[in-house]
């Protein structure tokens, strides 16, 4: 039922002529003849008036095609791995998200014009290299606890003292002539201006990924030209990023002024020195993402909580301290993250309705059509679901405002799962107002 992480290869070609632009992925590169055939079969379909969007091999491998702006074709190929037939739906959803994210990455760095009107293929090839760092990050998906590229919700960290950091972000952005500002702690958004939240959810996720990448290098500040795939695909903005403390970065999106030098020397200390202790408290929240005032039940191993209205999420995996000796060992931390993602995909592709805004691609909508048929087969909408496996018990529930996904230790009786889940949801929401 649950798939293993297979390796994924990404191919990019020009849509009209099939010239390979780049290929990324950890596994051995596919031979040129195979790439040619993959393009050829898609082209053949096009000639017959059909769009080939997805296929599955006998060994369980998947191929997903998608053409963007009639100009660039992206193909994702994933190896079969251990997944049985039941896993294909989740995998297809994942690959479709991946292609969408990769395209958004390309627009973010290069802008839509350069990608939509290819004049010089060799130049485009060279320019596309600038996107590799971000694309590789998407493909590897290695940072634990960051689920945004999958959920298209912004990974958040709820600071212990939200008002103070919010004021600092608002004031800092305003002084930098910007309406878009955010504070990222441990790769997650701890506070952002109102306008930042009005960016498209995919943009918020993508910008967070870019900031994480820049922050991980340890550099002190950046001035990066970025195009917003939905809001401003043809005009570049400047993303200014300042490392306040290692692990805490503040960013603003701005126009021609202020210069990086001026913003750094004139504004950073003025707005952030007074709250440096508050920032340190945010850093101690760490991977838990929830302030200390929220106490989680000891039998909860991991959780992902999504606010459906604001498109934000918090997630954490607890390192268990209470574990009766003699019981089978609990899954490791990294396995918990993997299980949490799988359970999310399992629930979303089968039971829970997704927000309509997220089904941006025709392909994804078609794919979802089959899920919806299944869901519509019932006289009511599923609100809760659970799954019991050898490793853990999982419980998902949704309300009009939230979706919660929990991994719970196997020793908890199945009939008690619902109570654990509803209690966890109300505990977090009542304390943090998330």
């Amino acid at each position: 039922m649950m798939l293993q992480d297979g390796s994924t290869q990404l191919l990019c070609l020009t849509a009209s002529s099939g010239v390979p632009l780049f290929s990324r992925g950890t596994s051995k590169q596919l031979p040129f003849s195979v790439i040619g055939s993959l393009n050829g079969v898609h082209m053949f379909g096009g000639g017959q008036g059909t769009v080939l969007s997805c296929c599955e091999t006998e060994g369980g491998g998947k191929v997903i095609w998608r053409v963007f702006q009639d100009s660039v074709m992206l193909i994702a190929v994933s190896g079969g791995g251990q997944g049985g037939p039941g896993s294909s739906k989740e995998e297809v959803v994942r690959l479709q998200r991946l292609l969408e994210n990769v395209w958004n990455c390309m627009v973010l760095v290069l802008g839509q014009d350069e990608l939509a009107n290819v004049r010089n293929v060799e130049r485009l090839k060279r320019d596309l290299r600038s996107c590799f760092s971000l694309i590789d990050q998407l493909l590897e998906d290695r940072q634990e606890g960051i689920l945004g590229s999958l959920t298209h919700c912004a990974d958040c960290l709820l600071p212990p003292n939200p008002t103070l950091v919010q004021q600092a972000v608002d004031g800092f952005a305003q002084a930098a002539d910007s309406e878009f500002g955010c504070l990222i702690v441990h790769g997650r958004i701890a506070a952002a201006t109102e306008k930042w939240w009005r960016l498209a959810p995919q943009e918020v996720v993508l910008l967070s990924a870019l900031i994480r990448f820049l922050s991980a290098s340890g550099s002190t500040s950046c001035d990066y030209p970025v195009f917003l795939p939905h809001g401003s695909p043809t005009v570049a903005h400047r993303l200014l990023r300042f490392q306040l403390l290692p692990g805490a970065d503040v960013c603003v999106l701005c126009g021609p002024t202020p210069s990086l030098h001026k913003a750094e020397t004139g504004l950073v200390c003025r707005f952030w020195s007074p709250v440096v202790e508050t920032l340190r408290e945010c850093l101690t929240v760490g991977e838990r993402c929830l302030p200390g005032s929220v106490s989680l039940r000891p039998d909860v191993m991991a959780l992902l909580l999504i606010n459906r209205e604001t498109r934000r999420s918090v997630s954490c995996v607890k390192t268990s301290t209470h574990h009766p000796p003699g019981d089978p060992p609990l899954p490791s931390k990294s396995r918990c993250w993997e299980l949490l993602k799988l359970f999310y995909m399992f629930s979303m592709s089968r039971y829970f309705a997704q927000e309509e805004t997220l089904c941006v691609s025709q392909e994804e909508r078609t794919q979802r059509g089959t899920t919806e048929d299944f869901v519509l087969g019932f006289s009511h909408q599923p609100q809760q679901c659970y799954l019991v496996t050898e490793e853990c018990k999982s419980y998902g529930l949704q309300t009009p405002q939230h979706q919660l996904f929990l991994l719970i230790v196997p020793s908890v009786p199945t009939f008690a799962l619902r109570t654990v889940a509803t209690q966890t949801l109300s505990d977090i929401v009542s304390v943090t107002g998330f």
């Binding site: 290098s217 550099s219 990086l260």
Partner: protein, 247 residues
């Protein structure tokens, strides 16, 4: 062109090996690695031994792929990226470095902010280069020992930085990937000729990062010495000018 100070004439070279430097160097280290400082932090000495910090902005320039980002990371003691990725905007990195002045014995913390920008990004976006040049104190011209064209292009680059508006900018040349002698494309003689023509210090870097301080000390000390020298020259010129006006 400004006179280049003699190596070790202004500051104590290899000071990081001396015993009396330990209390200063330990402030930039954490668990034997270089400490990463955010913008709200800086090395703090106890009040009785307070030390001044001098700030400098240094721009790293050179052909795409010569190792600008890697050099900045090396000098600041950060992880050097193992795959080359184009830098698609400006990235700055701060390196703190304690220095002892030879004459007065005074200790200073140099805060060297290294500005690094991908060549493609510079070409695509007009506003990046002026931003890098704004109030810059020094330029590092990079070439790679494994890429002849990057060496041949140096003269072009340096000429661009020779106007009167940038005459006070300290200029140094750094050859990267010096360890890859199997693929070396630039002969020692060419480097000597180049040095004679331009009268600029040429430093070499490359290879594995060993003890963290030893392999960056020559470059950081050379940079600090040149910056300090330039400051002294500027200060004395200003003094002379003022004296002339008074007379």
């Amino acid at each position: 062109m400004a006179q280049v100070p003699l190596h070790g004439s202004l500051i104590v070279s290899d000071w990081h090996r001396c015993k009396d430097s330990k209390e200063y160097f330990c402030k930039i280290l954490h668990k034997k690695r270089r400490k990463n400082f955010g913008l709200l932090e800086s090395p703090v000495m106890p009040p009785q031994a307070a030390v001044d910090t001098v700030h400098y902005k240094i721009f790293i320039t050179g052909k795409s792929g010569v190792g600008k980002t890697a050099l900045a990371a090396r000098l600041a003691g950060l992880n050097i990226p193992n795959i080359h990725h184009e830098t698609t905007g400006i990235e700055t990195t701060v390196a703190y470095w304690p220095v002892k002045l030879r004459e007065s014995g005074r200790v200073l913390f140099f805060r060297l902010q290294l500005w690094d920008c991908g060549e493609n990004a510079l070409r695509r976006f007009d506003h990046l280069l002026p931003s890098c040049k704004e109030q810059v104190d020094a330029v590092l011209f990079l070439f790679s020992f494994t890429d002849r064209t990057s060496f041949d292009d140096l003269s072009n680059q340096i000429t661009k930085w020779s106007g009167p508006s940038v005459s006070r900018v300290v200029k140094l040349v750094v050859g990267t990937k010096f360890d890859l002698f199997m693929h070396c494309d630039v002969a020692e003689r060419d480097v000597r000729d180049f040095q004679a023509t331009w009268n600029l210090p040429v430093l070499r870097t490359g290879g594995e990062v060993s003890d963290g301080l030893g392999d960056v000390a020559p470059l950081l000390n050379c940079l600090a010495e040149n910056l300090w020298h330039q400051d002294c020259v500027t200060a004395s010129q200003r003094f002379q000018e003022e004296t002339v006006t008074v007379l």
